[in-house]
Symmetry: C2
Subunit: 409 residues, 2 copies
Amino acid sequence: MPVNLAIPDPATLLAIDGVRIGTAFAGIRKPGRRDLLVLALDPGCAVAGVFTRNRFCAAPVTLCREHLAAGGDIRALVVNTGCANAGTGAEGMADALATCDGLARLMALAPTAVLPFSTGVIMERLPMDRLLAGLPAALADLPAGSWAQAAEAIMTTDTQAKAYSHQASVDGHAVRVTGIAKGAGMIHPNMATMLGFVATDAVVHADVLRTLTREVADGSFNRVTVDGDTSTNDSFVIIASARAGNAPITSVSEPAYAELRAALLAVALPLAHAIVRDGEGATKFITVQVEGGRDIDECLRVGKAVAHSPLVKTAFFASDPNLGRILAAIGYAGVDDLDVGRVRLHLGDVLVSENGGRAASYREEDGQRVMRDAEILVRIELGRGKAATSVWTCDFSYDYVRINADYRS
Amino acid sequence: MPVNLAIPDPATLLAIDGVRIGTAFAGIRKPGRRDLLVLALDPGCAVAGVFTRNRFCAAPVTLCREHLAAGGDIRALVVNTGCANAGTGAEGMADALATCDGLARLMALAPTAVLPFSTGVIMERLPMDRLLAGLPAALADLPAGSWAQAAEAIMTTDTQAKAYSHQASVDGHAVRVTGIAKGAGMIHPNMATMLGFVATDAVVHADVLRTLTREVADGSFNRVTVDGDTSTNDSFVIIASARAGNAPITSVSEPAYAELRAALLAVALPLAHAIVRDGEGATKFITVQVEGGRDIDECLRVGKAVAHSPLVKTAFFASDPNLGRILAAIGYAGVDDLDVGRVRLHLGDVLVSENGGRAASYREEDGQRVMRDAEILVRIELGRGKAATSVWTCDFSYDYVRINADYRS
């Protein structure tokens, strides 16, 4: 049961002019589920992506990097679920190339105009016959495909599809943003088995879109963690279809850049949160807000240490205000000169700890009350400076173990 | 149920001349359990320790550091279980001082001759009345106390006491080593809620003992992980009672130094392994052996990434050879220039992966066969150099969640 995560209402998902969607039931892993997605881009779209830093990155990740670096127009994205095509060596690379070739042939494109994405089990070969056989069906679906279907077609252990739209004014023009994401486990800052695709009709220069994509990823997907594992396949892509009529954004210092970034984050952040809300076995949605750091980096280190700690996460599952575990995580976060006497820990509106120990005003029933909520704010004041940031995580339950012990069976 | 962990046979535990043991049922946390330990040291013992790097280190850890740095003779160690006296601020420091004062008064020592240790729940005050009331009982027990009772008196969520002895020849003299340890969760390299006390009757210069203690910790307790959490209270202490009659060891380059280190590791390593075997919810004991690294540091990084991964650990729990998860962990271990095409992964005697993908010879039933064992060797060849090391961990089961969700209740 995801934590306060609504099923996307297809009526709220805005079509993005220049981006067409087709999905298919290709039977790549299990029959009877939508498991293949094609996003067909009209000419003139700018595309940028950020990818996993895992050295065992999947073959499709390597190809995405190459095709984006080649600098030509990207005209299609193809995504399969059920098999990650990672840890598959030279054969995996051949399969990813054959996927691009197959789609390029059907769409009369160069193979380098196709970006491939895979998610699912690692170290197994893609069933190429079924994947290639599914492509014509996905293309036939193009006129009718919806973002809701696209979100469904990329799910693995997700219990729910994830899609959001937002409309904003950029440079005085109405701009639309729609995004989808998948991911429920192996989720960790710096990209995890997380796929995110966000499309906007704004007009942005390709170079600027690259910076924008990194900034949006850093402000959203790179701030969430489920289990601390960094996947082989993480990819986050922004497509700008250049149909909104705004003056092309050519510099990060333009006001329109900030407007568009805010609009993109208005979709990317709820998508990233949706991944945590649907985290494997999650029963609580936890915001770890770190304030008073010397810089963002040390705030992030503290936030991630707390958000990754299995002991902290099981305590949240149990609604047990065993809050010393949070102090312990702050203490081992690697801020070497941290003065623990200046650290203050709040749980929701309750001051839990100050002066290196339990706050005099703290009563366990107050901690207990906050711990029972499904949405919990952990606020940590470091007392060192003015930097602040947040990371988001979920609790750690029996179901996390069940899901990951059973994933392949 | 711990993994292949025998209950210590009191008959095998060697007394160490110069070290006397007293325990008591002080009712510090729960009535009816042995929860207070005093190790009384005769004059002339050398003592050295290594401690947690957690910034929220417990008050007793701070005092241990101070009393060891003061350089006077250490004449007693006092250990309580049930309460960690960490995250307790100035009051916690006063409590730790009062513990030393109380024992020093009863034994007619300076308070700085006492090293205090606590383990248990964080951010709660020590019940000083019961602790101080228990000290006379522990001292009264001194003539009769055994290492087996000492091991029992320091347990928290441990299901079994942990104690080993070893006899070796050092400089041609028979030398005895006996050690006890506790710890089952919040276990992570760099010291975790782990207490380890090893005593030997060897004669060692105090300076040399400090180096020896660090080397022995690095080769044993700093190589094990249960959940990646680094505790506030970890302490590892070696006592050398100087009764064995060997020529005093005054330099790390003496052959006797290497002999004694080997003898100490012969106790410290099984103690560290015992902590993993008794890891919270453990059903498997896993050795991650990393070979072919450029240096030990990168071998350790890879070993720890694999040993910490919740996804890897749940797969071991399920006996599911979902071995791509191991490749993913190798990939995100932070060896930036790792050539994954040179990495070879073995599970027991089965070659699983090479050339960046599944080994041609690998059959899933072979992986499955190894995964069903209670003792599993994961061997990773990095193909970069000659350095090698091992880390040890356990699997991640429903019971880990149950134990940590219920710990305080």
